[in-house]
């Protein structure tokens, strides 16, 4: 029983870290993988989703609906940002990272000015259960399942829907897709919106577990960056395995030395991975296949 308890605790911690990494990174990874744009305002889209979720939930809307509302609003803001700023920078991908940093500053400070330095949150639902003498949160299990569900839905979306196929065609050879009648500008706008909506979803999902402050996005971005760098440019071949590998590092170090050392471990892991696999895990897998 004691061994079972220890195994369960380890699996739970791994699952928690995996969920956090996948959910943090998926929005960033979709935008990067599809468009080559690193969205430094990613954390602010997460913050946006969390704020909208909490506000609508406090109006009496049930939490799952509130989370979806958060994702939708973040996605809409994402489409708007793409129209106003990102669209003009596709020929200069390195400048998008700088521009989105400016957007991130505006969003964080704007939220601080409009909504104040903190906002009352909502409690974590579902309570907890006990296993082998240790207490676990049900909501964390929900988060793990959500992470897996998000990966599965994204996979189906990009392989089985018409939009997904058009999006992948646009990514591979934009000029050819355009010649075949695909509205590539629309595809880019929607892809950016999808990435922003995924960030908003992450914010909504984690909103009940966090303190509502305008800088809450920075809690996620380090993990998101690291996962995308290790994963490389492919969401399924990159982000998911990268999150799995990094979750082991993070969960182990966090349970031994605390959260900060989990992050330091992630960073060191990334720097080493970069030295060995410059194009990330997906680059490695794709080269092996080719």
């Amino acid at each position: 029983m004691e061994i079972l308890g220890a195994v369960f605790a380890a699996v739970y911690q791994f699952g928690d870290a995996f969920a956090f990494l996948v959910l943090s990174a998926c929005g960033l990874a979709v935008i990067f993988g599809m468009m080559g744009v690193i969205n430094l305002a990613h954390g602010e889209f997460i913050m946006c989703g969390a704020y909208v979720t909490v506000m609508t939930n406090r109006l009496g809307v049930p939490l799952p609906v509130a989370i979806l509302a958060g994702a939708l609003v973040a996605g809409a803001v994402g489409v708007l940002v793409e129209r106003l700023v990102i669209r003009h920078l596709y020929s200069r991908p390195l400048d998008t990272i700088v521009a989105t940093w400016g957007i991130s500053l505006i969003a964080t400070q704007g939220t601080l000015i409009v909504l104040g330095s903190t906002m009352p949150g909502v409690g974590t639902p579902f309570g907890s259960f006990e296993f082998a003498g240790l207490s676990y949160s049900y909501y964390r299990i929900v988060l793990m399942l959500s992470a897996v569900a998000v990966l599965a839905i994204l996979y189906l979306f990009f392989t089985r829907t018409r939009f997904g196929v058009l999006a992948r065609a646009t990514i591979q050879v934009p000029s050819m897709a355009e010649a075949l009648g695909v509205d590539t500008r629309f595809i880019y706008a929607m892809t950016f919106g999808l990435g922003a909506a995924l960030a908003g979803l992450t914010g909504g999902l984690y909103a009940p577990t966090m303190t509502m402050v305008p800088t809450m996005g920075t809690t996620f971005i380090m993990e998101a960056f690291v996962t995308v760098v290790v994963g490389g440019a492919d969401v399924f071949l990159g982000t998911a395995p990268a999150a799995a590998v990094l979750a082991v590092v993070k969960a182990t170090l966090t349970s031994w030395y605390g959260q900060l050392f989990g992050q330091i471990g992630l960073l060191i892991a990334v720097i080493i991975v970069i030295r060995v696999l410059p194009r990330g895990i997906s680059g490695f897998i794709l080269r092996e296949r080719a």
């Binding site: 200069r92 700088v98 521009a99 991130s104 400070q109 380090m222 760098v229 990334v270 970069i274 410059p278």
Partner: protein, 351 residues
Amino acid sequence: MTSFRRWISRLEGPQTMGRGPAFWVGFCVVLVAACAYPLFSDGYTVGNTVYFFNWVFMALGLSLIWGYGGSLSFGQTAFFGLAGYGYGILTINVGDAYGFTLIATLLAIGVAAAFAALLGYFLFFGRISGVFLGIVTLSVTLVFERFMAQTAGPEWRVGSARLNGFNGMSGMPPLTIPWFGESIVLYPDIELYYVTLGLLVIVYLGLRILVNSRFGNVLVAIRENPERAEMLGYDVRKYQLGAFVIGSSLAGLSGVLYTTWGQYITPSSMGITAAALPVIWVAVGGRSDLTATLAGTLIVLAGFQALTIYGSQYALVVMGLLLVLTVLVAPQGVVVLVGRALGRLFGRGAR
């Protein structure tokens, strides 16, 4: 003698804006004005100007790495903080006698440079480039900030120096120059102003020589087309690493000067907002030119401080807006645009 003359001739060249007698007359006028400025001002304003100067070193370093080398390093504040904390730890433990503050300055910059060399080895020799370089360096800064922010407990001490967590470290001695009879203590006043101004002129002219030398030309060639530079036989990684280490040492110098200026350093001077500011100065000024970066940094800093009177939150929104607009409308930088316009106006003045 001839080699000296060659060095001097590299003060101007293809990689820097401004050449010919007109530019250097202007340079001397500005320099004389800067030297005379404390005579017409009070101690507080002079000290404040020194505060502006402190940041310019980091901006020039970023210009070298990003503008000339084309590597997006968004974690310059990590080296800034590392050197600042390094200076604090060294001087609090050893004191300021016998000019140790100057040695501590060099050691702290050395630590920053060594860390930059280590990190840069993994990054550049792993051949990561573009956006990844930016986000890895930024991640390093964020983690370093979080690490320093949690060092509040009494167990986080190096010798007699408490790291003090989020509140930061304070009480380190200011720069002290040993002198006959009595040491000169450089408080943020006229003496420190001249020392910092002198350093600034040396670094600015030194970097001008550097970027117009073979090293600078290769660096720009790498920025323009890394594959071509490699085909021509240059080891791209070494040049990028070199620029990264030099630029990061300058960030370290900024960190030490900042720490001695206010006699404190906090983790938030490395956080994501602090890390964004150098990027804004350099981008708005014009990252691919040293003079534009220098002027842009001072202008943006002065503007930022003027706005802060109405609330630093609003000032940051304006900074964000400025960055987005610069990238969209004047990607080469506002000062560069103005400089080119001036050059056209005066015929053969600027590039």
